[in-house]
Amino acid sequence: MLEWLLHIGLKLVEVCINILPIALVISCFQVLVIRKAVVYPRKLLIGFGFVLIGIVFFLEGLDMALFPLGNLMASQLTTPDFLGNNTELTDRVWQDYYWVYLFAASLGFATALAEPTLLAIAIKVQQTSGGAIRAWGFRISVAIGVAIGLALGTFRIVTGLDLYYFIIVGYLIVIIQTFFVPKLIIALAYDSGNITTSMVTIPLVTSLGFGLAEAIPGRTPLVDGFGLIAFASLYPIITVLAYAQIAQWLGKRKHLTNT
């Protein structure tokens, strides 16, 4: 117990050092430039205290649960036992790992759909587009994008292909799409990918990638393990832009048949 308290205490000090810059910046600007008293100093201090303790518990929980969980899923889905003993480890083709892609895709889909920030934004989108873009359609297209992104990302880890090509091709698609979609949706679609990668999904997905890179012969975590998050935030842009395009096209057609 004492040992654990000491461990938590050390972690708290570490987090304090990490948070110091933002507290300094804000107080400097407040005192030196704006020169106005803070309205609720007590609330502010309590808030900062919450942030500090919150991060300590969060990091502790990551080490205990989310990191091992990602690793565990990666290793369980790639053991010879699970894949069947017929083939040699080095003779495996990428099709053998289909459960990995399915797992990554369902994880991405479920977490994106349940993300509270995305819900708030989806409602805003529906309002500003005058109902042409539905909140549900928006959320589902983001979720599909994250699912495709993670499935492709795990596929890349399994095959060891260059991250570069997948990302550049994604960029090219985004650039082409940008010229054809309604102007209103562009900024929101761009941001939608980053909104879904939250504090909970990042550690889990990162450790999944690491676990896969460790488990699959010929891959190294440093070169192949990273990159999943980049996939998960790029591909939703493509699906949201595509959805906006389809919604616009359907709206036009409906309008034409009505008149």
């Binding site: 407040q30 106005k36 919450f50 942030v51 205990m64 649960a65 920030t117 941001d191 990159g227 999943l228």
Partner: protein, 243 residues
């Protein structure tokens, strides 16, 4: 009132984790069909994550968010371009520095870099590498917010800076060391995970509504994506410089 909000936030955090738990459980039971070892440690850890997340978000909503919003408003009203841009940079920088997910990523990157003898396997060397990485990301997020605010002020379309960043990434990647590319590509999205998104969105939307002729939706959004692209470029440059 605080207590009720706390319970609500606790449920929210639990809801955040729920899809992960459901998907993992379905796969564990139906596909893998084996029991998980060390379940009690996992559950304790998950409870820690829920509690930590709940406290963290609550703290951000009490302190950083209202403060950032009111300061963004004050600076927009002040009308001084220099101070507004300076504030934008500092806000982006410090939000990225405080991001817990980024702390985790750089530690992981330093660990695997020292395991593969990219850097010395001493603790100080990897701490140095991790801190350098974090500062690189934070500076680039700050710069990105600065340019993004400038974009809102000038009324440039959102895709100009984004396309420029795409081009930059496409050009630099072939020259970057192979083992930094993955970290670089991930760092951007990770730097803009939890703290940066609400603060920066509030800043963008607030500015766009304060300035005449700007639309909060078309102009106010788009800061986050740019803030996630700049670190990709800068971390790759960091990797080139370190090699």
């Amino acid at each position: 009132m605080l207590k009720r909000r706390f319970i609500k936030q606790l449920l929210n955090s639990l809801f955040d984790l729920a899809p992960i738990i459901v998907v993992v459980l379905i796969f564990q039971v139906l596909v893998i069909g084996k029991s998980i070892a060390d379940v009690d440690r996992l559950i304790t850890g998950l409870l820690f994550v829920v509690l930590g997340l709940c406290l963290f978000i609550q703290g951000i909503e009490l302190s950083l968010l209202p403060l950032g919003e009111s300061m963004a408003y004050d600076f927009a009203k002040k009308g001084s371009l220099f101070w507004l841009l300076g504030f934008a940079f500092c806000l982006g920088f410090s939000a990225a520095i405080a991001e817990p997910a980024l702390i985790v990523l750089v530690e992981k990157a330093a660990l695997s870099a020292s395991n593969h003898h990219q850097i010395d396997s001493t603790e100080t060397a990897s701490a140095h590498y991790a801190l350098g990485l974090r500062f690189t990301v934070a500076i680039s997020v700050g710069l990105a917010i600065l340019i993004g605010v400038l974009r809102i002020l000038k009324g440039w379309p959102v895709y100009y800076p984004v396309f420029c960043a795409y081009a930059g990434i496409a050009l630099i990647t072939p020259f970057a060391p192979k083992d930094i590319i993955g970290i670089a590509y991930d760092s951007g999205s990770i730097a803009t995970a939890t703290i940066t998104v609400p603060i920066v969105t509030a800043l963008g939307v607030g500015l766009a509504s304060a300035i005449k002729g700007r639309n909060p939706i078309t102009d106010g959004f788009g800061l986050v994506v740019f803030a996630s692209l700049m670190p990709m470029i800068f971390v790759m440059i960091y990797g080139i410089a370190y090699a």
